[in-house]
């Protein structure tokens, strides 16, 4: 029995795989080393945002499994609703601190503009994701918030296709459409960070830095092979 013929190079699958591996080799996607300057509490807030998102989705899935009214009449349901709400508060808190931190680092430097843009859009999409949750609660908060929020949305014409007083529509947006958008944006954001690397510090003493970088031992060990590519760090 002869070996299977090699997949022709015209294969879309091969092309996608080769492009993917070229852009993000496994060592870069899941690194086991990072630059020494990544040593500050501010870096915690990026991963804390993602961790909060995971808890939001987990608790949201449990609420979705039992239906939108479950949490009103059971203690367990209310418990998971509370976890859902607090994880949303933690998500926004972590994300805001993360964004401020990245602003003061000017983290868009070195060709990382798309990293900032995806992060900023994630924040902006997360706002209606949360709002649709508030108006899907089926309680007084939902009644009041929906009847107030409609005016702003109607004023710019959004209300014509996004009706905050329509529970069914808002629930669909909240548990499916907007979470998909947020997860897709966060995924793109993380992949861009992995591709471009964490932005290096501002150079404040270029001469010393150059000497340090040029030094075979004092300047540090060479970066892992997967992190030496400079193509994405223009």
């Amino acid at each position: 029995m002869s070996a299977a013929p090699r997949t022709p190079s015209k294969s879309w699958t091969v092309k996608v795989r080769e492009k993917g591996v070229e852009a993000l080799p496994p060592e870069r996607l899941l690194p086991d080393g990072q630059p020494t300057y990544v040593a500050s509490w501010i870096y915690v807030f990026g991963v804390a945002s993602i961790a909060s998102l995971i808890v939001i989705i987990g608790s949201g899935c449990i609420l979705a499994l039992k239906g939108p009214a479950w949490w009103h009449y059971t203690g367990v349901g209310h418990f998971f609703n509370s976890i859902h709400m607090w994880s949303v508060e933690l998500f926004f808190f972590a994300m805001v601190v993360h964004l401020w931190g990245k602003y003061w680092m000017a983290a868009w430097r070195g060709g990382r503009g798309r990293v900032w843009v995806t992060g900023a859009i994630t924040f902006l999409i997360a706002v209606p994701a949360a709002l649709t949750g508030y108006v899907s609660q089926q309680n007084f908060d939902a009644q009041w918030i929906s009847t107030q929020a409609k005016d702003g949305l109607n004023s710019v014409g959004v209300g014509a296709f996004f009706n905050v007083t329509n529970f069914g529509q808002m629930y669909s947006w909240h548990i499916l459409l907007l979470p998909i958008a947020v997860v897709a944006l966060v995924s793109a954001h993380v992949l861009l960070v992995r591709r471009n690397g964490v932005v290096p510090p501002f150079e404040i003493d270029t001469k010393k830095a150059a000497i340090a970088a040029a030094s075979p031992d004092g300047g540090g060990s060479p970066p892992p092979p997967s992190l030496t590519s400079t193509g994405a760090q223009s």
Partner: protein
């Protein structure tokens, strides 16, 4: 777009690397956030104030209900004169030549007289006198309908004004507190008093909610009509004021109780507290436009001259990377 960017001499890092376990860090973060969320849940739970009902409204504030219903019938309520996306009775808000509310049109048509009063009353088929009254009203010319509805609404509006100004209420409106019925002495109102008394009874029985969500579908998830009807009355606003949810109380970012609500909407809520937005009848579109521009600017920060240079000028980065700079100095 390079002309928008400051000189960028950021070089790829060629210095030291330290061991790092991404999966371990992410797992620990998920664990810590889960624990924090559970801790906050155990300590503070979450708010769940029961929703208001039209039945509750008509029981607790029968005159307010009758007044709102009268304005739905004579076309002077907030919803009746709202404009798109509910009706064509106004053009909605505008900013300069921008009228997106009008441009997008009426997508959720609501005729408050028909949808909030006439159609629900037509479901009460067991009351022949009422059905005769409704038929008489529907058959009348538009001018006559308006005169009847205005004649009924006028004493109620005077009553509401007197209550608001804390003056003696006019004797043309009386409430029987034991039965919760409202009597309006309105001459020239035709069948409207009969209709509105029946609407109040229907509301008290809990039947009006059903009448407002009824359509060709058995299953319903669209509460636009009952919500808009209730928002035209005073019960929701009364509860909201007690829960610091009104616009002037930064209500858009609050929720019931002392919970954090949506603090990320602080900037959106801020504009409603300051002039010229605060007193503008077009505040909603103006605030949305300002927020739209600011949101776009937020996305484009890397490309905005001046804003993208601030991090270099204000050396907060020295604090963030102090370990790195210290190590560099000691090298």
């Amino acid at each position: 777009m390079s002309f928008l960017r400051p000189k960028d001499d950021t070089q790829p890092w060629k210095g030291r690397y330290q061991p790092y376990d991404l999966i371990k860090e992410a797992s620990i973060a998920v664990g810590v956030i889960t624990l924090l969320a559970v801790l906050l849940t155990v300590l503070f739970s979450s708010p769940d104030d029961k929703s208001s009902t039209i039945s509750q409204w008509s029981h607790e504030l029968p005159v307010n209900f009758a007044t709102a219903a009268a304005t739905e019938l004579n076309g002077t309520s907030g919803t009746a004169g709202y404009g798109p996306p509910y009706n064509h009775n106004s053009q909605g808000t505008q900013a300069w030549i921008l009228r997106p509310q009008k441009w997008l049109g009426v997508s959720h048509p609501i005729n408050t007289a028909d949808d909030f009063v006439i159609k629900p009353l037509e479901t009460v088929s067991s009351d022949p006198a009422l059905q005769r009254g409704v038929a008489e009203y529907k058959a009348a010319p538009e001018k006559q309908k308006q005169e009847w509805a205005d004649a009924y609404a006028k004493p109620l509006e005077e009553y509401a004004t007197a209550e608001e100004e804390k003056k003696t209420a006019p004797s043309t409106v009386s409430v029987d507190l034991s039965t919760g019925t409202v009597t309006v002495q309105a001459s020239g109102a035709g069948p409207v008093p009969l209709m509105m008394t029946s609407l109040l009874s229907l509301a008290k029985s809990g039947g009006l909610e059903g009448g407002l969500v009824t359509s060709s579908q058995f299953f319903q998830t669209d509460y636009t009509k009952p919500l808009l009807f209730m928002a035209d009355g005073g019960l929701l606003a009364e509860r909201a004021e007690g829960q610091h949810l009104l616009g002037e109380q930064w209500g858009m970012m609050n929720e019931t109780g002392s919970y954090p609500g949506q603090p990320w909407l602080w900037l959106y809520a801020l504009w409603y507290q300051v002039e010229p937005f605060k007193s503008s009848e077009n505040a909603d579109i103006l605030v949305m436009l300002v927020m739209g521009v600011l949101s776009l600017a937020f996305i484009c920060i890397p490309f905005i001259p001046g804003i993208n240079m601030l991090p270099r000028k204000i050396p907060i980065y020295r604090l963030i990377w102090k370990e790195h700079y210290r190590a560099q100095q000691n090298a």
